[in-house]
C-alpha cells in the first residue's frame, strides 16, 4: 500500500505529515495523533500528544484558514498527487505576461489612479475602492509598466476581480 503523505504549508514553514501503518509521522518524527469525531464537518478536533485541539476551519480550493487560540492561520494542504500537479502548473506560469492587481474586497471603484503606459513603483496607489463607506487604496505589489486597465471609475467589482495588469 502506498503511503499517505500530506504537505501542510503555513507562511514560510512546511510540515510533511505521513500516515503510515505504525502511526503518524511529522517531518519523519513519530507523533501520537488521532482525529476525534465531531458533529460538524467544519470543526476539526484532534488529539495530539496529550492535548485535544479543537478549531473550526474555513476551507476553499486554495487554502484553509482558521483561528486557533486567538491566532489566525492560513495553510495550504496538498497530498502528493496535488503537489505534483501544482509544481507542473507553476513551471508554466513563469513565462506568463504581467502581474495582475486584483480587487481585495467587493466594492465600488471610486477612482483609477493610473493610466496605461504609466511607470509605477511598488507600493504606489493604483485605485481607490470603496467598501462599507470607507475608501481603501489598492497599492501595487510590485513595480512595472501599466499594460491594461480592466475597470473604470464607478464600476462595482467582486473580490479578486482584476483591476489593472502590470508588466
Amino acid at each position: 500500500m502506498k503511503k499517505d503523505i500530506y504537505y501542510v504549508r503555513m507562511k514560510d514553514r512546511e510540515f510533511k505529515v505521513a500516515f503510515e501503518k505504525d502511526g503518524v509521522f511529522i517531518d519523519g518524527v513519530p507523533l501520537p495523533a488521532e482525529l476525534v469525531p465531531t458533529a460538524h464537518k467544519a470543526f476539526v478536533k484532534a488529539r495530539i500528544h496529550d492535548q485535544i485541539l479543537a478549531f473550526p476551519i474555513d476551507q476553499n480550493d486554495e487554502e484553509v484558514r482558521f483561528l486557533f487560540s486567538g491566532r489566525e492561520y492560513i495553510a495550504q494542504v496538498e497530498d502528493e498527487r496535488q503537489r505534483t500537479l501544482h509544481s507542473l502548473e507553476s513551471a508554466g506560469e513563469e513565462t506568463g505576461a504581467g502581474v495582475t492587481i486584483k480587487a481585495p474586497m467587493p466594492g465600488l471603484v471610486v477612482k483609477v489612479e493610473v493610466n496605461v503606459g504609466d511607470s509605477i513603483e511598488r507600493g504606489q496607489g493604483i485605485a481607490v475602492v470603496e467598501a462599507m463607506k470607507m475608501e481603501n487604496e489598492v497599492r501595487a505589489q510590485g513595480g512595472g509598466i501599466v499594460k491594461d486597465i480592466r475597470v473604470k471609475d464607478g464600476q462595482a467589482v467582486e473580490k479578486g476581480e482584476v483591476l489593472v495588469v502590470i508588466e
Binding site: 499517505d4 482525529l35 464537518k41 467544519a42 476539526v44 484532534a46 483561528l67 486567538g70 481585495p104 462599507m132
Partner: protein, 502 residues
C-alpha cells in the same frame, strides 16, 4: 413607561436594546431589510417587519418605511441605536410629527452637536476648551490652505457632519492639502450626504478620553465617568476601557464637570458622550459630542452597574433621573474589544461571507454583545463589526487577562476577524504599561503585528490536526457546502440580491 418600542437598527445594538426592553416588560419591534431575513435581530424581537431591500438608503435609513413599521406595529417610541438614523435631526422631527417618542436628545441639541463647527462655537462660548482651528466650514481648497498656514501644519481636515474617521484626512504639508481636501469631501458626501469640511490643528499624540452623560428632561445632568479609547486603527476604535490610566482624580473631576457643562450648553437630554482629546501635558480639549448611545457603552455599564439603555427609556418616557452624581461609584476595571469581520492578513480589508461555525466565550467577568449566529451572512451592505467582547476585573490586569482568555476561547469560521489583532494589542507591553496614545496602533503595533513569529511547537500540532482532517474530509470547500445545503430561502435571497444589484 412605554408598552412597545421599535428598534430602528440591526445587528448587535438592536439586540442589546431589545434585551433591556424584555427585562422591562416592554414589547420590542424589529425592522429588517431583505439582506437581514435570516439575521439574528428580527428573531430576538417580539415582532419583526420587513421594510425594504438591502441598501440601507432603501431600508434602515428610509424615514417613511421606518415610521410606517412603527405605525403598523403600534409602537410608542423609536430607539435608534447608533449609526443609521441615530444622529439625524430631521428624523427626530419626523418621529415627533408622527406622534412618537424618539429615544434620544431633542432635534435642536442633536443638530447643534451634529455640526462639528457649530459645536465648536457653542463649546467655546460655554468655556469648554476646544482644539485650535476653524469654527466654520472651508469654502474651498484655497481657504483651507489659508487656515492651515495660520495655525501651522500638520492639520486635520474633518467632515463638519462627520464621525468615525470617515471624511477625515491628516495633512502634513501644503502640497498635500488639495488632494486630501477633495478626498475628504468626497468621502464625507458619500457617508453623510454633506461635503462641508473644516480644519483643526493636529495634536501630537493625544489620548482619546470620553465622558458618558445622562441628562433628563427636568434639567438634571450627571456623568458616569470616562472611557479611554486611544487604541484606534485608522481612527476606528479597537479597544476601549474604563477607568483611564491617564486620569488623576482631579483631572477626572475637572473633565467630568466640563462634560456636564457641555451637555447643558446644548440643552442635552438622554444618554450622550462628550469626547475629548488629552495631550501629554494633561490639557484637554472638547472634540465632539456623540448624541446617542456609544458602541463602547458596555464598559461603563460593567463598572457602574447601571443599564444605560434602561435609563434612556426612562428618560424618554419623562421620568426623573434619580441617580445623583455622588451615587456614581465605579468599581473595578472594564475593557472592550471590537470584533470586526476584517481580513487582518491583507491589510484589514472588510470581509464578507457566511459564519459557518460559531462558539462564543463566556465565564467569569465576560459579556459578549454580538449580532450574529451560526449561518449568519456578513454582507457588504452594512458595518463589518460583528461583536463586542467585554471583560470586567477587580483590577486592570485582571480585566485584560480575562479579555485575552476570552479572545482565545472564541471559535469562529467562515469570515476572518480582528480577534488576533485585539489579542496582540492587549498583550503588548506598551498597552500593559498604560503609556500610549492614539498613534500607538498605526505607528507601531500594526507593523509589529504583521511580523509576529509563529510558535513552531503549536504550528506543528496544528499542522498534524489539519492533515488528519483533510485526509478524512477531502479538500471540499465548506463555503460551497454552506451555500448548496442551506434552505431555499438562501436561494431566494441570493436571487433577490442579484436582481437588486445588477
Amino acid at each position: 413607561m412605554f408598552r412597545k418600542i421599535l428598534v430602528a437598527n440591526r445587528g448587535e445594538i438592536a439586540i442589546r436594546v431589545m434585551r433591556t426592553c424584555r427585562e422591562m416588560g416592554i414589547r420590542s419591534v424589529a425592522i429588517y431589510s431583505e439582506a437581514d431575513r435570516t439575521a439574528l435581530h428580527p428573531q430576538m424581537a417580539d415582532e419583526a417587519y420587513l421594510i425594504g431591500p438591502a441598501p440601507a438608503t432603501e431600508s434602515y435609513l428610509d424615514f417613511k418605511r421606518v415610521l410606517d413599521a412603527a405605525k403598523k406595529s403600534g409602537a410608542e417610541a423609536i430607539h435608534p441605536g447608533y449609526g443609521f438614523l441615530a444622529e439625524n435631526a430631521d428624523f427626530v422631527r419626523a418621529v415627533q410629527e408622527a406622534d412618537l417618542v424618539f429615544v434620544g436628545p431633542p432635534a435642536q441639541a442633536m443638530q447643534a452637536m451634529g455640526s462639528k463647527t457649530e459645536a465648536r462655537r457653542l463649546m467655546k462660548s460655554a468655556g469648554v476648551p476646544i482644539i485650535p482651528g476653524t469654527q466654520q466650514a472651508l469654502a474651498s481648497t484655497s481657504k483651507a490652505k489659508e487656515a492651515a498656514a495660520k495655525i501651522g501644519y500638520p492639520v486635520l481636515l474633518k467632515a463638519a457632519l462627520g464621525g468615525g474617521g470617515k471624511g477625515m484626512r491628516i495633512v502634513e504639508k501644503e502640497e498635500d492639502i488639495e488632494r486630501a481636501f477633495s478626498a475628504a469631501a468626497r468621502e464625507a458626501k458619500g457617508a453623510f450626504g454633506d461635503d462641508n469640511i473644516y480644519l483643526e490643528k493636529l495634536l501630537p499624540g493625544p489620548r482619546h478620553i470620553e465622558f458618558q452623560i445622562l441628562a433628563d428632561k427636568h434639567g438634571h445632568v450627571i456623568h458616569l465617568g470616562e472611557r479611554e479609547c486611544s487604541i484606534q486603527r485608522r481612527h476606528q476604535k479597537v479597544i476601549e476601557e474604563t477607568p483611564s490610566v491617564a486620569l488623576t482624580p482631579e483631572l477626572r473631576r475637572d473633565m467630568g464637570n466640563a462634560a456636564v457643562k457641555a451637555a447643558k450648553a446644548c440643552g442635552y437630554v438622554n444618554a450622550g458622550t462628550v469626547e475629548c482629546m488629552l495631550d501629554a501635558n494633561g490639557n484637554y480639549y472638547f472634540l465632539e459630542m456623540n448624541t446617542r448611545l456609544q458602541v463602547e457603552h458596555p464598559v461603563t455599564e460593567m463598572v457602574t452597574g447601571i443599564d444605560l439603555v434602561k435609563w434612556q427609556l426612562r428618560i424618554a418616557a419623562g421620568e426623573k433621573l434619580t441617580l445623583k452624581q455622588e451615587h456614581i461609584a465605579p468599581r473595578g476595571h472594564a475593557i472592550e474589544a471590537r470584533i470586526y469581520a476584517e481580513d487582518v492578513t491583507s491589510g484589514f480589508l472588510p470581509a464578507t461571507g457566511f459564519v459557518n461555525f460559531l462558539r462564543v466565550p463566556s465565564g467569569p467577568g465576560i459579556r459578549e454583545d454580538s449580532g450574529i449566529a451560526e449561518g449568519s451572512e456578513i454582507s457588504r451592505h452594512y458595518d463589518p463589526m460583528i461583536s463586542k467582547l467585554v471583560a470586567w476585573g477587580e483590577t486592570r490586569d485582571e480585566a485584560v487577562r480575562r479579555l485575552a482568555r476570552a479572545l482565545r476561547e472564541y471559535r469562529i469560521a467562515g469570515v476572518p476577524t480582528t480577534i488576533p489583532f485585539c489579542l496582540f494589542v492587549i498583550e503588548h507591553p506598551r498597552f500593559s504599561s498604560g503609556d500610549f496614545d492614539t498613534r500607538l496602533v498605526d505607528e507601531e503595533l500594526h507593523r509589529e503585528f504583521m511580523e509576529v513569529p509563529a510558535n513552531p511547537e503549536i504550528e506543528r500540532s496544528v499542522a498534524a490536526a489539519l492533515a488528519l482532517a483533510v485526509k478524512q474530509n477531502g479538500s471540499r470547500t465548506n463555503n460551497q457546502r454552506m451555500k448548496t445545503e442551506s434552505s431555499t430561502s438562501g436561494w431566494k435571497w441570493s436571487g433577490r440580491r442579484d436582481g437588486i444589484e445588477k
